[in-house]
Amino acid sequence: MDLILPQIDWLPLAPILPVAIGGLAVLVGDLFFPAGRKNLNAILSLASLALSIFVSIRLWGVVRFSINDALVLDRFGLFFFLVFALVSLLTVLLSMGYLDENTPDQGEYYSLVLFSTLGMMLMASGGDLVVIFLGLETLSLALYTLSGFRRAELRSNEAALKYLLLGAFASGFFLYGIALIYGATGTTVLRRVAAFLADGKSHGPLLVIGGGLLLVGFGFKVASVPFHMWTPDVYEGAPTSVTAFMIAGTKAAAFAAFLRVFVFALPTLHIQWSAVIWVLAVLTMTLGNLVALVQNNVKRMLAYSSIAHAGYVLVAVVAGGSSGATGVLFYLVAYALMNLGAFAAIIALQGHGQELLFLGDYAGLGFRRPALAACMALFMFSLAGIPPTAGFMGKLYIFSAALEAHYTGLAVIGVLNSVVSVYFYLRLIVIMYMSEPAAERPPVPRSAPAVLAVGMSALGTLQIGLFPERLLDLARQSIAALGR
């Protein structure tokens, strides 16, 4: 019995490692950082994310498979690495505004952020369903914790518990799906699944059901109706910075994995699942938007809005093909930017200890904090899909993909939904600019990092809105990689 240790190709791990090491370093470093300098945790996190971004950019165009295809390094993965790193970066920045100096366990907080980023990266680059599952669990466990991070607050506890119970429940289905696919094909490695199916064998119900169960798992993560119900509660109860992270990151990760699995491994199932997702997309968009209409809590409203946006992305998924997938990628970036921007603005607008949770809290801010409010308005317009913003371009691309694939009905429902959504996004602006505050609040110190996050997101939102071609090009390259 001899154990030959394999040659390990480290390259696929290269962009992930800085994040993993960063997470560990923060965990350890926190012990040594003096009490007044806890933001060193954040800075360390930023550094590791920056490194990851750097590596990802350098590796653009390289294609590698690690042992047993567990990880795949390709443009698709790198695209998402960049997205996750960016999301994480912005999250860290806005967390710096959200957590004050006295918040305990900052080291744990930032390391968990990094670990969940790691989980996302694994989901996006996993070449094996097991890796995707493990990435999902890494992400989820870290997020459960982060949701309950304000452990003294009942809402935070409740969010964490709900998230955990439902998340575990859903991952049970997901895992079952993996098991059935394993049974049907004899492997969990995506390439082999694809090869197995490419032989022209007809796929029995086992595989179909397995795929369906995977869909449930992804549906849960992207908060698609009817697997969405945890979303508003968790997003409301979780700390605001975490909500931002979840909204922007989780969804992207889930869609990344989804595309890898369904477009790359199970393309032959397209006919079955596109019909299913058609329905999911419609339900998701419609419910998200309709319920968001009647929300008064900004976080909750954005939570429902995130559900609706998941629906739009699902439209692109249904549309499929190169355009559809490109649309997914493009939209996810736009979506991440505008949501993070909005949350960063919420955080940057808040005073210490008093979050602006309710719509009414925003009264009169438009002219008291003009720059931030203007950015907030920009994000809202972008979320509503009004040009010239990223949100508009995203929708344009998604709906054009839908039309290209002759899903006219879906596109019509989609745009009508986006009209409905305009109402509640604009309502926040109405309150900021068009109503008078109940009482003057004392001016509060600004959090420079959060403001920086707002600024970056705003620039990104406008940049993509005005000149989307570059990002589209990147997304298309990524998709081309996936098709191989």
């Binding site: 119970l165 289905f173 449930v216 549906g219 697997f227 968001a292 209409l293």
Partner: protein, 631 residues
């Protein structure tokens, strides 16, 4: 040179209007009257050039350049000076100048002196554009322009509610006719590709066959405009109310000039009307009926200006009667004579009102001849002219119309005309007797210091009285007087079909009409001078008739009930019920439905984990079910 005719009052209007506030009153008067006299001078100049041309070629045109051109359609700022335009321009600028002069005195006390003169000048300009235009569209510019001036001048004393609503009424009633004209014009564009008179009249016989429906409708559309502007049935209702304006305005606009624009339009369009005998018939009948109808109302009115106003309507009816029976020249002749004597009557009435500080009710007058000699004399001349007593102007022109009517075979219409003549004699002299003769019923405070108007008012009276007495001779002998020889070539040859009756019967007919008028005068004399109680007795004897006349056959009330109020209430109902509730309601309804759907769906989000689990389960089961059993 032709363009200078309307331009000079236009410039005057602008100068007075924009700078009048800072000008002295005398300068305002000088500029305004100067502009008017320039217009008259230029008209005379053009006229002189015109008569120097041979009779058949008496026409010249001038264009200031294109106005609207779109596709194959184009219209220019072109003017035309032919005998018809010449007569109109002369009448307008001549009578206009006199009334300008008259206004110097009449309006002397008014605080909006410059506004008045500015508008008066503007009116003159627009009226001259109307009569000088060489195409229908430019005519329409003047047509609407004079309407605007009329509107603003009726409402000159806009603080009086009656004046304000009279102005609005005038504009709106006219607008109905104008819309018809617009339709007529756009139709002409389609038919002839142009609105230029010469082209239209050249193309018309080819494009529209004689007596065709199209020709009838087209000419009737134009005539509809004319009934508005010239206050014929059924659109006459604005004119009596228009008396709310200052009296010089009534004289100029609502008697001498503007109201005759309709007559001018029909006369100008004679070649079109010739193609549509039915239309001509209608014109004649409308004219004849209006003449009698208005005269009948005038019999009992007590407001001095209103009587004259109804008289105007009635006389305009004569003109249309003339046009309708093809006696275009006679119609225009009557237009000219009427301009003189009706302006005279109004100015004289104005002089009375001026002297009585605004009193207009005949029942409060009487015996004014003693204090207002010149006024009374000139009024008498006007009344005689209006009543058609030989040899005053009205006799010649009216007689000619009646003769043509009879000669063209319209016996019944002739009867109407003759009856009207009797009525005319009656109401004119009723007016004269009530105002100037008999016993004074004046407010004693007024009667103490009655005095004649200033020279600026008296001079026009005298001049107009002279005119009223004499212009009729231009039309002597009937049908071949200098007037007709001058105007004749303008109208189509067929227009003279009525001239075939024997001259002998002409004299008989003229005598008959004259007798009718005299009878009317005599009755007026008896009723109002000899037996002052008689009218009341008569009124008591025929209460229905009397009230019908007094209340003008309740036509205003009818229009109010049948047209104005339904439209108003329809508008109100549309606005509140339909627009706000139905249309906007459904818009808002959709919105609130969406919102309510959100509220309902929201309740699904109970906060309970089991519910959420159930939801996931539903998803799983349906999804797997689809995949297993369907997909």
């Amino acid at each position: 040179m032709i363009w200078l005719i309307p331009l000079s009052p236009l410039v005057g209007s602008l100068v007075v209007g924009l700078m009048g506030r800072r000008m002295r009153r005398s300068w305002v008067a000088v500029v305004a009257c100067g502009a008017a006299s320039l217009a008259l001078l230029f008209s005379l100049g053009c006229f002189a050039r015109l008569i120097s041309l041979p009779a058949e070629g008496r026409l010249f045109r001038q264009s200031l350049g294109p106005w609207i051109a779109s596709g194959n359609f184009s219209v220019a700022f072109g003017v035309l000076f032919d005998p018809l335009s010449a007569i109109m321009a002369l009448v307008v600028s001549g009578v206009g100048l006199l009334i300008h002069v008259y206004s110097i005195g009449y309006m002397a006390e008014d605080r909006d002196y410059h506004r008045f003169f500015s508008l008066l000048n503007l009116f003159l300009a627009e009226m001259l554009v109307l009569v000088l235009a060489d195409n229908y569209l430019l005519l329409f510019v003047g047509w609407e322009g004079v309407g605007l001036c009329s509107y603003l001048l009726i409402g000159f004393w806009f603080e009086r509610p009656a004046a304000a609503s009279a102005g609005t009424k005038a504009f709106l009633v006219n607008r109905i006719g104008d819309a018809a004209v617009v339709v007529g014009l756009i139709w002409m564009i389609q038919l002839f590709g142009s609105l230029d008179y010469q082209i239209v009249f050249r193309e018309a016989p080819a494009a529209l066959s004689h007596g065709s429906v199209a020709a009838t409708i087209l000419s009737l559309l134009l005539f509809a405009g004319a009934t508005g502007k010239s206050a014929q049935l059924p659109l006459y209702v604005w004119l009596p109310d228009a008396m709310e304006g200052p009296t010089p305005v009534s004289a100029l606009i609502h008697a001498a000039t503007m109201v005759t624009a309709g007559v001018y339009l029909v006369a100008r369009s004679a070649p079109l009307f010739q193609l549509a005998p039915v239309s001509l018939e209608i014109v004649a009948w409308i004219g004849g009926l209006t003449a009698l109808y208005a005269a009948s109302i005038a019999l009992v009115q007590t407001d001095i200006k209103r009587v004259i106003a109804y008289s105007t309507i009635s006389q305009l009816g004569y003109m249309f009667l003339g046009l309708g029976v093809g006696a275009y020249a006679a119609g225009i002749f009557h237009l000219m004579t009427h301009a003189f004597f009706k302006a005279l009557l109004f100015l004289a009435a104005g002089s009375v009102i001026h002297a009585l500080h605004g009193e207009q009710d005949l029942r409060n007058m009487g015996a004014l001849r003693k204090s207002l000699g010149v006024t009374a004399a000139s009024f008498l001349v006007g009344a005689l002219a209006n009543a058609g007593i030989v040899p005053f102007a009205g006799f010649w022109s009216k007689d000619e119309i009646l003769f043509a009517t009879y000669a063209s075979g319209h016996r019944l219409l002739w009867g109407l005309g003759a009856l009207t003549a009797a009525g005319t004699g009656f109401y004119m002299f009723r007016l004269y007797f009530l105002a100037f003769e008999g016993k004074s019923r004046l407010d004693p405070r007024l009667s103490s210091h009655l005095h004649e108007a200033p020279w600026s008012m008296r001079l026009p009276l005298v001049l107009l009285a002279l005119g009223s007495a004499t212009v009729g001779f231009f039309g002597v002998p009937p049908d071949s007087g200098p007037f007709h020889r001058f105007l004749g070539p303008v109208f189509p040859a067929a227009a003279h079909e009525g001239g075939s009756a024997a001259p002998a019967s002409g004299i008989v007919l003229a005598l008959a009409a004259l007798v009718m008028a005299l009878v009317g005068i005599v009755i007026a004399f008896r009723y109002y001078l000899q037996e002052p109680g008689r009218p009341e007795t008569m009124a008591a004897q025929y209460p229905t008739l009397y009230r019908a006349l007094l209340y003008k056959y309740w036509v205003d009330e009818l229009y109010e009930k049948a047209v104005v109020r339904p439209i108003s209430s329809a508008a109100g109902a549309l606005s509140t019920s339909f627009d706000a509730n139905m249309i906007d309601g459904s818009v808002n309804g959709i919105a609130s439905l969406v919102g309510r759907a959100g509220g309902v769906l929201r309740r699904l989000q109970t906060g309970h984990v089991p519910t959420y689990v159930l939801s996931i389960l539903v998803g799983v089961v349906v999804l797997l079910g689809y995949l297993v059993f369907v997909g």
